[in-house]
């Protein structure tokens, strides 16, 4: 049993918990991909829909986790992935049911009739931008440098597999570069402002982004540390049995747990402090496919605030988003292809 297989099992309850907790860290004015005017955020239909979604997804999570762990050790490693896929599909069905119900009531009761739908920008977001905490990247870079040094002193890799010999370093550089690139893109994207109270919501957004960035770099450093430990094991630096198989997973698991706790707490603070009075956001439901995927070719933004939970998503109406997806996926896929080609 490898760390990847263990993670394949652990991700089933993790996904269930994240989806069930999703509504708690979603802005009240955006429920299940449906834009809701401030005066309707506490309406009975919204409360009932949220409650039904939480119960349904909680039951799905419990069943999926029970079935997955009941089959532990039986069948192939991919069995857990099949259950994960089933859980994901069931959660998506729950989301679409909730979305359909809210949209039906919103249309029949004409929630946005007579509302002034506005978009607000705070120019200080650009003229006095939030400083990117680059110093938090230093520990991750130090771990990468340490990995390179350890690898270089551990002896030369076989001539045929130079890249594979530095696999841990390549993975560290890719993960660190990807996180930093995405975070920089988020810093350049537009903030999610509350139309009812834009000035204060920008202050809260700055605090949220700063907290999430710092937590992300702690997580990233621990991922890189896990990869270093995996490298030590692979290169047999500490001798056979020097690094147990479970040790590289520990920093990753600790980092993930820390990041999710910080993410949830920061998101909860941000969401519950939102305004409830006056001013409706623009009803932009038509640009959200399935209430989750943003496609708006008239919007120059590359990244926008996610519709479910706290986070960011790409604007697939922007060509640069597709280029980014190809770049993100292309590197690991390319490396796998190279590895297979080298093995042939």
């Amino acid at each position: 049993m490898t760390p990847a297989v263990v993670f394949g099992y652990a991700i089933v309850p993790l996904l269930g918990a994240a989806v069930t907790a999703g509504p708690a860290i979603t802005r009240p004015t955006v429920q299940f991909g449906v834009r809701v005017p401030p005066e309707y955020t506490g309406s009975p239909v919204v409360k009932q829909t949220r409650s039904a979604f939480i119960w349904r997804t909680a039951v799905i999570a419990v069943i999926a986790t029970a079935v997955t762990f009941a089959t532990w050790g039986h069948g192939s490693w991919w069995l857990a992935r099949v259950f994960l896929g089933c859980e994901l599909v069931a959660d998506l069905v729950c989301y679409q049911l909730a979305r359909r119900r809210l949209r039906a009531v919103k249309t029949s009761e004409a929630w946005f009739a007579g509302q002034r739908q506005t978009v607000v920008a705070d120019t200080s977001w650009r003229t006095d931008p939030l400083r990117f905490p680059l110093e938090w990247l230093a520990p991750a870079v130090a771990v990468i440098v340490a990995t390179v040094v350890v690898r270089a002193t551990a002896g030369h890799p076989p001539a045929r597999a130079v890249l594979a010999g530095y696999g841990a370093v390549v993975a560290q550089v890719w993960v660190t570069g990807l996180w930093t690139g995405l975070l920089l893109a988020v810093y350049r994207s537009r903030p999610e402002l509350d139309t009812a109270d834009p000035a204060r919501s920008l202050q809260r957004y700055r605090a949220l982004l700063g907290t999430i960035t710092r937590a992300a770099y702690v997580f990233l450093t621990l991922i890189d540390a896990g990869l270093l430990l995996a490298g030590l094991r692979q290169w047999r630096v500490l001798g056979p049995g020097g690094v147990p198989i479970w040790l590289p997973v520990l920093p990753f698991a600790a980092g993930l747990a820390f990041f999710l706790v910080v993410w949830f707490r920061a998101g909860r603070t941000w969401v519950t402090a939102g305004g409830r009075r006056g001013g409706a956001d623009r009803d932009d439901d038509r640009f959200w496919k399935g209430g989750l995927i943003y496609v708006n070719s008239g919007d120059p933004a590359l990244m926008v605030g996610a519709r479910f939970g706290i986070g960011w998503t790409l604007n697939f109406g922007n060509r640069a988003a597709w280029v980014l997806v190809v770049c993100i996926l292309g590197i690991p896929i390319g490396l796998i292809v190279l590895r297979f080609a080298a093995g042939l």
Binding site: R188, R190, G298, P300, A301
Partner: protein
Amino acid sequence: MLLSIEPDGPVPIYQQIRDRIVEAIAAGQLPAGSGLPATRQLAVDLGVNFHTVNKGYDLLRQEGLLRIGRKSGAVVARDGASGPPDPAWERDWAARLHTLLAEASAQGLDPAAVIRQAQATVAEFGTEAGDTAAGGLL
């Protein structure tokens, strides 16, 4: 400065951008020398086309309220304390005011109510130039 627009409203978006910036300058939120976001950045923040913001900025530049440089970006060129405006601009403004007051008259608005509204609006901006203008109206 908070810039609020109605993307689906009857007024063109570039005009709304121009109007909100003029109002912010009049209210003292954007004194002369204040920087404004680059057109592409503001376009992202408002979710509108970059050319729309460019058009709004260009209107302000033609009116002498904005200076756009390659290095400095968009900067507020003048405010209420920058002295009297260009006579040509004043003539143009008087013509627009004429049409606006004609609308009020055509709709049967009480002249006293028009003056009260003008005073209240000028007081809202609270500049010395505004007070002088209100006195002139009376």
